[in-house]
């Protein structure tokens, strides 16, 4: 099952309102910049609600995530919000949590065993970026040119974003030649892969990244290849809403778009959804929108940058 599949056994066995004092927030990609922001904002949101947030140290390892979740279930952390690295691998633990009378909230997808979920459509985020880039290509390049994708095939989230981005772009701008799909999620790799691609295709117009970090590396590679930062025939876009990329967008460079999550909304949901479940809310789940940010969205960008500092 993936984020798109339907839950079959939603709901916690323990009905009726409860009070919870502690929420375990398990976000595995602790190396990502977003992580620190989320923890900070969620902790603040929790304090406003009078509950405590504890975090796990998964370091992007499935093994560690499973171990830590198991420990939490054993420890009876009353509510767990978890972003499973491998959804299938988490099903059993979620079930154990529900069986123990705990609240389980799935983040970024849906499990069969859960109390509620916080949904994002990563596919949708990718699609937003792909469509925006295609629109720009059709306008600025007349529907021609060359595009390179910096993709991620290793985890579900990456595959979803990749599929959304690539499919949407190629559907809407069929005349643009796809010259590469290279694995890259960090700026270093993004930079070196883009440099190599630029050697082969000096006229590369578009680099779309599965993360803002990777796309930012591509942004730097283009500049090193002599592209002026405001070049009119160049487009770079990424996903996440990372600060360096937002700054570049705001400055009017050819880094033109980012499919961004709103950390404040997420943090509120991380605290709010389990509390809603505890309060007996009949429909506690939320679906958080991913928004495409471009230079025109100056205020939103400022807001996001503020949330991230």
């Amino acid at each position: 099952s993936g984020p798109e599949s339907q839950p079959t056994a939603t709901g916690s066995p323990a009905a009726g309102p409860r009070t919870i004092t502690k929420i375990g927030f398990d976000y595995p990609f602790t190396q990502l910049p977003l992580y620190a922001t989320l923890v900070k904002l969620a902790t603040a949101a929790a304090r406003r609600q009078g509950v405590e947030v504890v975090t796990s140290n998964d370091a992007a390892k499935v093994d560690a995530q499973v171990t830590n979740l198991t420990t939490w279930v054993g420890q009876r952390i009353p509510a767990i919000v978890s972003f499973p690295m491998v959804f299938e691998a988490t099903e059993k633990i979620a079930k154990a949590a529900l069986d123990a009378g705990l609240i389980w909230v799935t983040y970024g997808g849906t499990l069969q065993n859960q109390s509620a979920d916080i949904q994002f459509s990563f596919l949708k985020g990718g699609t937003l970026l792909g469509e925006a880039a295609a629109r720009w290509a059709n306008e600025a390049l007349g529907g021609t040119g060359k595009v390179a994708f910096l993709v991620d095939e290793t985890i579900q989230l990456g595959r979803d974003r990749t599929r959304g981005m690539v499919d949407a772009f190629t559907r809407a701008a069929p005349g643009v030649e796809v010259v590469a799909k290279e694995q890259a999620i960090d700026p270093d790799t993004g930079l070196s892969k883009s440099s190599a691609l630029l050697a082969k295709h000096p006229d590369l117009n578009i680099i779309l990244g599965v993360t803002d970090a990777a796309a930012y590396g591509g942004f730097k590679a283009l500049q090193q290849a002599g592209r002026a930062p405001t070049d009119a025939r160049t487009f770079v876009g990424g996903q996440d809403g990372a600060v360096p990329s937002l700054v570049a967008i705001k400055q009017g460079t050819f880094y033109r778009a980012s499919a961004a999550l709103a950390p404040n909304d997420i943090a509120d949901a991380v605290v709010g959804v389990p509390l809603a479940v505890a309060a007996g809310d009949s429909d506690p789940s939320v679906d958080l929108p991913i928004t495409l940010l471009q230079q025109a969205d100056g205020a939103k960008i400022d807001d996001l940058i503020a949330q991230n500092s």
């Binding site: 992580y35 504890v54 140290n57 370091a59 171990t67 420990t71 054993g74 491998v86």
Partner: protein, 324 residues
């Protein structure tokens, strides 16, 4: 020598050889006192299950390292084993023994390649197995780009069954540890492993087969990694080629070295390795129980490793390198 004196000597020797033991006990005490739930049966079961997969690989890896070689490819081999077992059990609907045998065969194949390159062609085992770590990961992702899951109840036995109240993986791990310890202590070839690790040339001139023994250890280590992968796949009822066992090689190696095995070969014990595995498991579990913030956990883990190294240094083994 009286029996009593023998015992006292053994006790002193154990404490001297394994200074990790008192520290592990102290750690457990502190965690129990501060969390109150460390020693809960459920929590201990969780630690044991995690430790089991590590121990199953750590024991043969320790023997391999004592013989003077190294295998860094176990993380990817674990993933490959899990994928093959999962694919056989799930998609191909084979019974559990077939799935496990398939995983073992896949692991053994990787191990055999390592063995040929390191023991017979004489290449550096560090680079070769680092290369295999990358290549086997790529192979696994190429063969199974998408996660596998839903392996059926037959396969669930491997990770979930209880034998006399103990989880099957823990029973397996105990068997592997005992076998490795018995091999080192009771079988002539066990001593040969030490001899090869200390002085290959002298071992060769003593008529020991200095290629076949480490080669067999490479195969066994890789097969054990694949078995651990199958167990993990069974426990989680799923396996993903990109993430399964990622970084596992460093965890196992850390446990082995913490346990007092010398990276240069020739010294180490299985009891030490068990202590190393338990130390890591206890630490990770205790830090989570204590709700230590993420980044502090990283710092604490790093420092604990260094403290562990300091203790391993106190063992008589480590006087090996001249330390004037």
């Amino acid at each position: 020598m009286t029996t009593r004196r023998l015992f006292t000597e053994a006790g002193r020797a154990a404490a001297l050889r394994h200074p990790l033991l008192p520290v592990l006990l102290l750690l457990i005490l502190v965690f129990q006192a501060s969390t109150g739930s460390f020693l809960d049966p459920g929590n201990l079961r969780g630690i044991a299950l995690d430790a089991a997969a590590i121990a199953i690989v750590a024991a043969p890896l320790a023997v391999l390292i004592i013989s003077g070689y190294l295998d860094l490819s176990v993380g990817s081999t674990l993933a490959l084993g899990g994928l093959v077992a999962g694919w056989l059990a799930g998609e191909s609907q084979q019974p559990l023994p077939v799935a496990v045998l398939g995983a073992l065969a896949a692991g053994a194949a990787v191990g055999a390649l390592n063995a040929v390159l390191c023991c017979y062609a004489g290449l550096s085992s560090f680079i070769v197995t680092l290369g295999m770590l990358t290549a086997v990961r790529g192979l696994g992702q190429q063969l199974f780009p998408l996660p596998l899951s839903d392996f059926g109840t037959g396969f669930a036995w491997l990770g979930g069954a209880r034998l006399a109240g103990v989880a099957a993986p823990v029973v397996l791990a105990a068997a592997v540890l005992l076998a490795a310890a018995a091999f080192l202590a009771l079988v002539p070839a066990g001593r040969h492993v030490f001899a090869i690790g200390v002085n290959r040339e002298a071992a060769y001139l003593s008529g020991i087969n200095i290629r076949r023994i480490p080669a067999a250890l490479f195969v066994i280590t890789a097969a054990a990694a694949a078995l651990a992968g199958a167990i993990k796949a069974s426990v989680l009822d799923s396996v993903a080629s990109g993430t399964s066992g990622l970084g596992f090689e460093l965890t196992v190696l850390t446990a082995v070295l913490l346990g007092g095995v010398a990276l240069t070969g020739g010294a180490g014990s299985i009891l030490g390795v068990l202590l190393g595995v338990l130390f890591l498991g206890t630490l990770q579990n205790g830090l989570t129980l204590l709700s230590v913030p993420t980044f502090w956990q990283l710092i604490a883990q790093g420092l604990a490793l260094i403290v562990g190294a300091g203790l391993a240094h106190l063992t008589p083994h480590s006087t090996k390198g001249a330390r004037p």
